[in-house]
């Protein structure tokens, strides 16, 4: 096996660097309009400026915290609700289609309603992030529980496990990979929704900075703050990967 295969991070970074260099050259050559896409080097240089001007780093944590709170809420409500739909087959069958449809709806457009209820506040951000985050968790929790091997359930029954142990020690761990697929999808939608609302209502973390940079026609600054959003998403992707690995080591 080549050394490269063992270092996915290095390979990824090399790829990223190559793309950046190509882009840099393309902008220089005038193939790409600099007003639309800045030079990657300008974007990098914009980081300290945006930091000095608008505290990029601090706002990174604001968006991260909003996303974490919304995702936590989505988990606390989504997993039990998924379990409920699994236990009550009739509700499960009845609501699954509606849930999937609701997931496809651009709930972000409902923000004026939420503004009325929660005002221009963190609560609006969390509530709007929660909706698209909870739906895939509900759906995947139900699917994961439906997919638990009948044999494993019989193992539990043959050892006389209580309903509680059956859930915590057999059903939930069995369903973990499926539920985590839902969490991964959910957290991305949560983040996108939160940043979009921050942008729209000019409140909160990175979305607000993107909006500010945009209205100043500061293209490198806009890109720098968008890249900060990408880092939030990378953080959650990595974090949930770690948690899943901890729950299901193999």
């Amino acid at each position: 096996m080549s050394k490269l295969h063992k270092m996915p991070i290095v390979v990824g970074l090399i790829g990223l660097l190559a793309c950046a260099l190509i882009l840099e050259y393309s902008v220089d050559a005038g193939w790409v309009m600099q007003l639309v896409v800045p030079r990657p080097s300008d974007t990098i240089l914009a980081f300290p400026e945006v930091q000095a001007d608008m505290d990029l780093f601090g706002n990174f944590f604001v968006t991260l915290a909003m996303t974490a709170a919304a995702t936590l809420l989505a988990l606390i409500i989504g997993v039990p609700f998924g379990y409920f739909l699994y236990r009550n087959t009739r509700y499960g069958v009845a609501y699954e289609g509606w849930l999937a449809a609701a997931f496809a709806a651009p709930t972000v457009l409902l923000y004026p309603l939420f503004l009325v209820i929660f005002g221009r506040s963190h609560a609006t951000l969390i509530a709007m992030g929660f909706i698209p985050g909870a739906i895939p968790i509900i759906i995947q929790t139900r699917q994961g529980l439906l997919g638990v091997s009948k044999t494993l359930l019989n193992v539990g029954r043959s050892f006389n496990v209580s309903e509680r142990d059956m859930f915590w020690k057999i059903q939930l761990p069995s369903a973990v990979p499926t539920i985590f697929t839902g969490i991964r999808i959910g957290v991305m939608y949560t983040l996108v929704n939160i940043v979009a609302i921050e942008y729209l209502i000019d409140f909160g973390g990175l979305g607000r900075i993107v909006s500010e940079m945009y209205f100043r026609f500061d293209t490198p600054g806009t890109y720098a703050s968008i890249i900060a959003v990408v880092f939030v998403s990378v953080f959650f992707y990595w974090g949930f990967g770690r948690v899943e690995k901890w729950l299901r080591p193999v």
Binding site: S149, S158, F159, N160, P173, P249
Partner: protein
Amino acid sequence: MADILEIKKVSKTYNADSDNPVVALDGVDLNVAEGEFVSIIGPSGCGKSTLFNVIGGLIDDHHGEVLIEGRPVDGAHKDVGVVFQEESTFPWRTTLDNVAFPLEIEGVGKEERDALARKFIKLVGLDGFENHFPAQLSGGMKQRTAVARTLAYEPRIMLLDEPFGALDEQTRMLLGDKMLEIWSALNQTMLLITHNITEAVQLSDRVVVMSYRPGTIKEIINIELPRPRSSEVISTPEFGTYVGKLWTLLREEASRGMEEAEAEIAAT
């Protein structure tokens, strides 16, 4: 020896209310003495696993009765442990935690249950693999983990549903020896489902031959080979006689089973 297990007129029909009910068991009677090793052999689909599910209390819509020490079974029973035919280890638990599972459920403390689990892991010959996950074990090792886990429950009656079905002949023979070792060490009553005639004769006091649908008991053969036995007994002439006898009985059932299954496929 008193009968620890009595199966009385047990019948089970799947999809009883539908257009095509499947009569899996029809009036099965069987008594098993404490400490006995009984094998059950019969064509695929004849209801062997169904019978175990009834004994283990995992099916409740059957007819007839199962008694353990004279008391009727209703639901899963502390005295009955099942090793399932399908892959049944928990993929997210190490060998040690898999085997300790029934003890954990019973509320045995961590240290004590780990010590007990280690004992049973050693008994099935998996020492050194305590911290491996099932995905890191071979098929036979996973099945041995499942056997150890059920042993750790310390049931008086072990139901083994083809635990070594997917293994090659040599490994199966050696594991057969292992099972005999465990059986004599723990003094349990063992019921073993197998497709393998050699294995049945090698291990058992009695071999129960089941007929294809509806599943009934066709014949019970007493195996009067001296104990302790090991896989070496296979090369004796008496052994061959038993194998021949069982093979004749089974061939009739198996070919009838195949024909019926083919007819069924053709009909659909």
